[in-house]
């Protein structure tokens, strides 16, 4: 009985891990793959390794929260398997309808539903988690805003990310021992930026592991007949890696494609910020959605960019170009060799305002998914465990 239950649980866990692998590989490696810096296979391999590293180290803190922090008793294997099904259901809904459902939050919701139904919910812990969920998007937005407004323009002036034709490195076989040399068009700068991009991708993979491995692994751990931590982490990693090598080929294009609309340098800033937020929160045991941290940082960086203050020098050099400066609108541009419009040339009928791109109501609708997702999973899990009390 326990054996077959465990088998079902492992299958459910693999399904969850597989899907997580698909989506988080897309986010972590979409931009570098889109920029042609890494191949999809290389990305998937790096992803698997660093997800494992993240899950094995920082991820354990989140696993503790999920399996024994949110509810006062240990999560039993039966209940864990049921919780996995709710996570799987969330993912299924996300896949079928294309609605973003944050996995980490769904997991917490399902376990909290279990806690409510059995009267074992640890209110202090859940309150702490929920308050981090409220604060984190604000922090992400704010950091993104500061980067977009002040830091990005400075860095952008100094750094050029380039990718030359031909392989990055080649093997020099002239000597007795083959030694690596630069490819035909490689420069030191290109080698440097490639390394930076790779390191940042690995960092994001690490944070994805820290925050997401526990979702697939924690429900299987503990209780009678449950798996040991290490085994569950390895299974979750393999499932995530499997997703990274298979369905991530598509998500690297869909999610990654959307991310590659953003300049690579800005995307790298977003990745570093979101990964740091996710890793730090996972470290203190708070389950957090990597996607949420990423999206809020993107919105922040875009908003910061859109509202960037115009410097005196720019104001002087461009005052023939545009007749008016609209408050709250985009007010500054790089002036890289862009000639000002000659006087007398016809003005466009209207000035497009960058501020319009961040309609608060539209953004709120997306953010609402982060409230609806975990709430629905809490309610469903609560109903389930109330109706079928034997499971918990």
């Amino acid at each position: 009985m326990v054996g077959s239950l465990l088998a079902i649980g492992i299958i459910a866990s693999i399904f969850v891990g597989f899907n997580i692998g698909g989506s988080s590989t897309g986010i972590a490696w979409g931009p570098p793959v889109g920029a042609g810096i890494v191949k999809k296979t290389t990305a998937a391999a790096l992803m698997t390794f660093f997800v494992f590293l993240g899950g094995w180290t920082v991820g354990r803190n989140v696993m503790d929260t999920l399996s024994e922090g949110i509810i006062t008793t240990d999560l039993t294997l039966t209940a864990g398997v049921a919780v996995l099904f709710f996570i799987g259901l969330g993912i299924l809904i996300a896949n079928i309808f294309g609605v973003p459902v944050p996995t980490s939050m769904t997991t917490v919701g399902a376990i909290a539903g279990l806690g409510l139904a059995t009267g074992t919910l640890n209110y202090a812990t859940i309150a702490e988690i929920v308050s981090w969920w409220i604060v984190t998007p604000i922090i992400g937005f704010w950091i993104g805003g500061v980067i977009g407004r002040y830091i990005y323009p400075e860095v952008n002036r100094r750094v050029q990310i380039e990718k030359s034709a031909g392989p990055l490195l080649a093997l020099d076989r002239d000597g007795t021992i083959p030694k690596p040399t630069f490819g035909p068009n490689t420069t030191w700068a290109e080698l440097g930026t490639t390394v930076v991009v790779l390191v940042i991708g690995c960092y994001m993979a690490f944070s994805a592991g820290a925050s997401n491995v526990p979702n697939a692994a924690a429900p299987l751990v503990g209780g009678v007949g449950g798996l040991p931590d290490d085994t569950a982490i390895i299974i979750a990693t393999l499932a995530i890696g499997f997703g990274g090598f298979t369905i991530a080929r598509r998500t690297m294009e869909s999610v990654g494609g959307e991310l590659s609309d953003i300049p690579l340098l800005a995307a790298l800033f977003v990745m570093v910020t979101a990964s740091t937020i996710t890793t730090l929160l996972s470290w203190i045991g708070i389950p957090i959605s990597l996607v949420m941290a990423t999206v809020m940082t993107i919105v922040g960086i875009g908003w910061g960019r859109a509202t960037r203050p115009i410097t005196f020098r720019e104001a002087v050099t461009r005052d023939t170009g545009e007749p008016e400066i609209v408050p709250g609108a985009i007010t500054a541009e790089e002036m890289e060799g862009k000639p000002a419009a000659p006087i007398g040339e016809e003005e466009p009928e209207e000035v497009l305002k960058a501020g319009d791109l961040f309609n608060p109501r539209a953004i709120m609708k997306y953010i609402s998914m982060w409230i609806i997702g975990p709430s629905v999973s809490t309610v469903l899990a609560y109903g389930f465990f109330i109706l079928i009390p034997g499971v918990a």
Partner: protein
């Protein structure tokens, strides 16, 4: 008569323009395309913000839609105006109602099959027809 025909990448947008051209051959027709609509990762919107010249970039992104619109119009030997907007499509359309007499709109856009946007951002045709202060023709 001044007609506003908001178009996206969809087949229904073409139908709306064809309807407007065929039924109001004398009208002054303006095709509007909105770029940088909010999305899950906000990629398109934020991508636009990072462009050096936002108007240029928006115009470039709208080009395929306008090309199609111009082709449909020239098949009928008619002229159209084009204008590009950025951001939230519904807001964009509603903000322009003062300059037009009627809106002609595809009953559902490219998002029709994608529950995400329909569910999250709302159905453009439905919301516009409910809120616009001028007549709205929905083309099916």
């Amino acid at each position: 008569m001044r007609l506003l025909v908001p178009m996206d990448d969809s087949e229904h947008a073409n139908l709306a323009l064809e309807y407007a051209l065929d039924n109001y051959p004398e009208a002054d027709i303006t095709v509007l395309h909105v770029v940088g609509a909010p999305s899950m990762m906000m990629g398109e919107a934020v991508g636009l913000v990072f462009e050096n010249d936002i108007s240029d970039a928006a115009a470039k992104r709208a080009e395929p839609v306008f090309e199609r619109a111009n082709k449909i119009a020239s098949e009928r030997d008619q002229d159209i105006n084009t204008t590009v907007g950025i951001g939230y499509p519904i807001r964009n359309i509603l903000d322009r109602v003062e300059k037009y007499d009627t809106i002609v709109l595809g009953a559902h856009g490219e998002d029709w099959s994608r529950v995400t946007r329909r569910f999250l951002v709302g159905n453009v045709a439905e919301t516009v027809s409910r809120r616009a202060s001028i007549p709205v023709i929905l083309v099916r």
